[in-house]
Symmetry: C2
Subunit: 248 residues, 2 copies
């Protein structure tokens, strides 16, 4: 059986919940983890409130192999993620000399004021995650990986931490265009195929535009032969339905 490594993502930020900032990290991280063989199983978005962050981190870290967080590690009073993670793990937090050294690569010592030093406050026992863009690091404590919310910085941190992660078998994904057959027509046959093929999940994804509905059927699984078998069955089904629907 293919190995599975699970993960959850915790997005931290009032601005996402108010709709003022449109999150760009969920989709990026989901695709990234899928590509390296980590299965994203759950996402949560919570506000900048310590109690909420602590509760979510503890719920997720006990359940999944990894928890990624984004947001709340800047220099202002609303950046409370590092403190919340320390609290969740019950460890002390303070200025980390490795992090201070990193920040001194960007700031002159006289410019490294108290607010900026907040970004060097790291829970005890964490490994740092490099930030090549603005230096203030992310960190990894236990199975929790804490990253920035700014997408370009988050992406650089994900690149930095990815090689250190355990990964499982990569998900094989095949998409089949169901052009010409409405979802309500192939649904019954597709359900039968899903039931008959263990080890794959089959999804049907409609989208709607001015041109009308467009449906894609997606077969996913970790065993290439099982995926290929299900794909063949779906293609046969669509071919049969297209023939039935063709004008005589």
């Amino acid at each position: 059986m293919a190995t599975t490594v699970t993960a959850a993502l915790l997005v931290i930020g009032d601005e996402i919940l108010s709709g003022r900032t449109k999150d760009k990290n969920i989709g990026y991280i989901a695709e990234y983890l899928t590509n390296i063989g980590v299965d994203l199983c759950e996402v949560r978005v919570v506000p900048d409130e310590e109690e909420e962050i602590v509760a979510a981190v503890n719920a997720l870290r006990s359940r999944y192999a990894y928890v990624f967080t984004t947001g709340g590690i800047g220099p202002t009073h609303d950046d409370i993620t590092a403190d919340a993670i320390a609290k969740a793990f019950g460890v002390p937090i303070g200025i980390d000399e490795r992090a201070r050294a990193m920040m001194l690569e960007r700031y002159k010592p006289e410019d490294l004021n108290e607010a900026r030093l907040r970004m060097a406050r790291i829970p005890h026992g964490a490994d740092l995650v490099d930030n090549p863009i603005s230096r203030a690091p992310g960190f990894k404590l236990g199975n929790v990986i804490v990253m920035a919310g700014v997408p370009s910085i988050m992406q650089a941190m994900l690149d930095a931490v990815a090689p250190t992660l355990s990964t499982g078998a990569r998900m094989q994904v095949e998409a089949i265009d169901a052009a010409g057959v409405p979802e309500g027509i192939y649904a019954e046959g597709l359900g039968a195929i899903a039931k008959a093929h263990d080890g794959v999940t089959i999804g049907s994804y409609p989208s709607f535009s001015a041109a009308g509905f467009k449906n894609q059927i997606v077969v996913r699984g970790k065993d290439a032969a099982a995926v290929a078998g299900a794909v063949r069955a779906v293609e046969d089904l669509l071919e049969r339905l297209r023939a039935e629907r063709a004008p005589a």
Copy 2:
């Protein structure tokens, strides 16, 4: 004190967690609810698995005034949201004659096959939510509002259900451009302002592009006078810091 009506959003779909589909609903719903005076407090994304959906719905519906769900109400085997909601509430589910009638506005009786009729399966006791685009309705059971995942249909359903919701005081939001003052310079003063102004939350939101960092300070609250007072304090702070930093 301003009235508050809370909400959570539950996004249901393997395709979001795999990154194949990039969610467009979270940001839309967040902004929409903020505008009508409903505070979105939490978002979760879970896979197309009944147990996960039931657990999330029950956790969220006991905690927030409303729970909105998106996804999983189509005709295929992976569309299990209606069944999961029925299970979460412990009520039976079956073909709803009102929903069947709606679907007969789109489908000829002979085209309303078993798969399409799946979309008329509604938990007992629910009110229907109109779907002007493809007719298959959403529904509202207790405080849970079940909507489609296709953005245009979800948006139409949200328009249909919004007038029936209780709403609280609208959040007043003011954004101040911190141009010319780095976040690490205004952070200390901003923290003091946040501490001194009850009833508002103040966030600092950096973004990063080829042009470098750009920071916005956002003041949010339900009392217009409190928001205005905090905005004035932030503007005074920025003005003072800009003057200090100006070349002599």
